[in-house]
Symmetry: C4
Subunit: 205 residues, 4 copies
Amino acid sequence: MSRTRLEEFSDGVFAVAITLLALNLAMAGPGHGPLLHQLADHWPSFVAYLISFFTIGIIWVNHHALIGNVAVVDRTLALLNLVLLLFVVLIPVDTATVAKYVTLGGQDARVAVVLYAAAFLGMGLSFGGIFEWTLRTGRLQQPLPERARRAARLRFWTGSILYLAAIAVAFVSPPVALAIIGAVPVYYIFERTPAGSPPADARQQ
Amino acid sequence: MSRTRLEEFSDGVFAVAITLLALNLAMAGPGHGPLLHQLADHWPSFVAYLISFFTIGIIWVNHHALIGNVAVVDRTLALLNLVLLLFVVLIPVDTATVAKYVTLGGQDARVAVVLYAAAFLGMGLSFGGIFEWTLRTGRLQQPLPERARRAARLRFWTGSILYLAAIAVAFVSPPVALAIIGAVPVYYIFERTPAGSPPADARQQ
Amino acid sequence: MSRTRLEEFSDGVFAVAITLLALNLAMAGPGHGPLLHQLADHWPSFVAYLISFFTIGIIWVNHHALIGNVAVVDRTLALLNLVLLLFVVLIPVDTATVAKYVTLGGQDARVAVVLYAAAFLGMGLSFGGIFEWTLRTGRLQQPLPERARRAARLRFWTGSILYLAAIAVAFVSPPVALAIIGAVPVYYIFERTPAGSPPADARQQ
Amino acid sequence: MSRTRLEEFSDGVFAVAITLLALNLAMAGPGHGPLLHQLADHWPSFVAYLISFFTIGIIWVNHHALIGNVAVVDRTLALLNLVLLLFVVLIPVDTATVAKYVTLGGQDARVAVVLYAAAFLGMGLSFGGIFEWTLRTGRLQQPLPERARRAARLRFWTGSILYLAAIAVAFVSPPVALAIIGAVPVYYIFERTPAGSPPADARQQ
């Protein structure tokens, strides 16, 4: 199979999902109170938009780095990638749900945050699965040395651990759980372990 | 014509269709009962989402394998591919319909499942048409030997036969028909006849 | 500028527009009468869907053939292409409008069909503009001989002439105007003047 | 990282955002008055559609020219590009808001125009950030000479300055502010400083 088509299809899904996120920010329009009040009431939507946008953006950057170093695409990788996209595609809908419920408190807020974290956890676990798949001999263009492998494994599983923590915390405090979820893309933006990156000469492709 | 643009356009349509599927999972929001109850009532949407997502995913994998081995793109292939996409594009809407009606029983449930199976049947028949088109001399980069051709023909038409069976069964039991439709992607995930795949050296493209 | 990015961006817009078309086919859901009646009442949506789908599909095929033979992409071509996409993007919305109004008769049906034909006319005129742009020396990889040029000019302007005719006819009979609009993609499917096609060796790209 | 994937993902986002713009033009349908009146009442939507369409179109052309000349893609560029897309994705929603409120006058019209200009300003500032990033040694395939650099800097920051002006003017006259926003793509269509363009031989890629 062709790595290019796997990347193009995935990029298409990432691009559509990230663009649909903004639809949750639509204002109700005239007859629903002053626009400034509508904007102010909408603040959880803006926070959730920022978190979801950068999380999808970072998973795209990481997907890009990991798949760009893959030597062969087989059906197992195609399937793992589909499972990853299954969760990516859920994010716009779960973002809308969390924005509607997180400020209401009670069980609904807890359920909404757990749903939201669960979509990200599913995304993180499938990404981890893809990473583990790449470690078998011959699957990377430039195999990772043992040391880099450990660093990369830590790097790729950290997100999933934080999402699990967010699910546990959501039962006590949904806003704190949301803050943990929001911290994940910030971690990946500043974390710069170079492991798992494609070789420098791959960029000409 | 360029095979690349056929693939890119098709990948775009597959990516948008697969992402739109999740819009059917949107929660009604506050004022429509506890979120957990909304989720529980929504279970047919989740089942239909999983079936449609993996069916589109698998047809994408198969499309990829088949078109990746094509040597020339003519107007007939472009047109057959358009017919395939005509049905792919119907899937999000028919998924929403089946999720709304399948649990209601009666004639509406039957009609909804028949509509859903018919979209997949149309997709399967057009895919079969593309496959038959590839069998003429000179249309594949690596022609299939007679034996592989028979295996591939069985492989590519099995889905259509199962969708026809689902339509027949829908008149008796819509849920069983839905289970048959859901079994098709599972069959293609585990079925591994290598026929119709592009040659190994095509992956560098 | 890169021809590839012009093609990819255009393919993205074509793919999203063609997929959004199907959203007009969504059923209202339980509580709006038997599903079979909803489907029957929805027939103008299905007819409009087929017309719009194949029209966008054919313009994609023609775009593909024309741009694939272009040697240089300058700002004028990028701008002409944007104008083309401006009209492509209007098609899903105008398709929904024509489906809602064409069977009602009266002035509303006329206005809806004129709007629909006008979007296609705008698309046809911008496509014609792109075609005329390609005729200047040095803009095609394989310049068209004078004879092929005349055939191609006839070919690319026929659509616009038919859309103009549809606008005139709409004032008398909206359904006949719709039939003319629907005849355009059928014409392009069966018309096979090879003019304007990229050279055979361009398909490897 | 691969420049190609950065371009493909960005093109996907631009394509989806530009196509979603047209959804704001949907007619309410039968029962909401004559279609001609609905169209006439909808004129701010058509104006806002044209402005947003050509603004996204021009930013796509400029993005294309700037990124096409980039020699290496690092995480900083990927992140700056994500911030650019964060604002691009907001445009369909802010276009809908401005169309609904600009003719109502009062504070709501001011807020709607400021929101709209702010999305474009965010887009302009991130684009300027990407431009400044490219100026460091070794980041462009063909470095800009000092003179071209000044011209390009003026060129890429002019949009942001006009959007800032539009925000200031919106407090006095929302329609004039809208006219300034609409003038920006017109400026970029006719402005032809060739600075920042990729070398001519990059177009074969």
